[in-house]
């Protein structure tokens, strides 16, 4: 993928396997000022809140989705200009997840592409869904 002209509706993005170790979730919490939130860092305390164990912060899921989009956009020097996420079910660490999506719209006038992206678990459940807008540089 090098230019907007080469992109078509239905083009796949990913899938990429995603396995989040608990320490990586804790590292995100440390980097994002969430280290003091027990449901993101401690299984026992998360269970006391009625959760199955520690969960991944929604903002970390958004960051992982953002990375998938910007990695896809990079060869075209395109920028992520909008991302909307919907948290449907908790994203649990130490599960075999995948990150994937596809192109839903291409606007040659605005030079943008719209994407649908999601995080899926082993059972095919979509835990986080997102839409993104990517802006491409002017035609060379």
């Amino acid at each position: 993928m090098r230019t907007l002209e080469e992109i078509q509706i239905g083009d796949n993005i990913g899938p990429e396997p995603l396995f989040l170790e608990k320490d990586r979730v804790r590292a995100y919490c440390n980097a994002a000022g969430l280290a003091g939130v027990p449901r993101f860092t401690d299984d026992e305390l998360a269970r006391k809140e009625g959760l199955p164990g520690m969960i991944t912060p929604g903002n970390m899921s958004a960051a992982l989705i953002g990375k998938l989009v910007t990695d896809w956009a990079r060869p075209a020097n395109a920028r992520l200009i909008r991302l909307g996420t919907t948290y449907r079910s908790p994203v649990l660490p130490e599960h075999h997840l995948s990150l994937q999506g596809f192109v839903t719209q291409v606007d040659h006038g605005e030079r943008t592409a719209e994407l649908d992206i999601w995080i899926e678990n082993e059972d095919g459940d979509r835990l986080v869904t997102a839409t993104a807008t990517v802006k491409f540089p002017p035609k060379a």
Partner: protein, 148 residues
Amino acid sequence: MALDFDPAIIGKIFEETDPVAVSAQEIRDFCAAVGENNPWYTDEDAARKGPYGELTAPPLFVLTFRNGRQFFQNIPRFGKGGFDAGRDVEFLKPVRAGDQITLVSHVKEIYEKTGRSGAMYFVTVRSTVKNQNNEVVAHIDHRFMGRL
């Protein structure tokens, strides 16, 4: 059940946070946790040829800035608890190491919807993220929902 809230809260600014300085180390820690290996965020030469023309933080770094204490105190609560339903982020300017970031937040909308499982409420809080040049870096809409 109608939602009971003071309509004056819509649009009311909670507070403007004190500026927070962004360090290169914080950006590196964020990249490491997310698994970012895009040279736009780590390599000056690659960044110069990238879409921003300089080293920046990854776009989703904007979600690491914290609202002030009054943020959660001012979000109206209804029914039985509630949860974080999602975010809508518009990225207008990149964040760079050395930037001084402030957040200003207000309630954007409150509404009720009835679905198959009963009545639900929705609250959207908008945070406007600005840098030291008073440029808007991003708009972040935080969506909360719960059962009535």
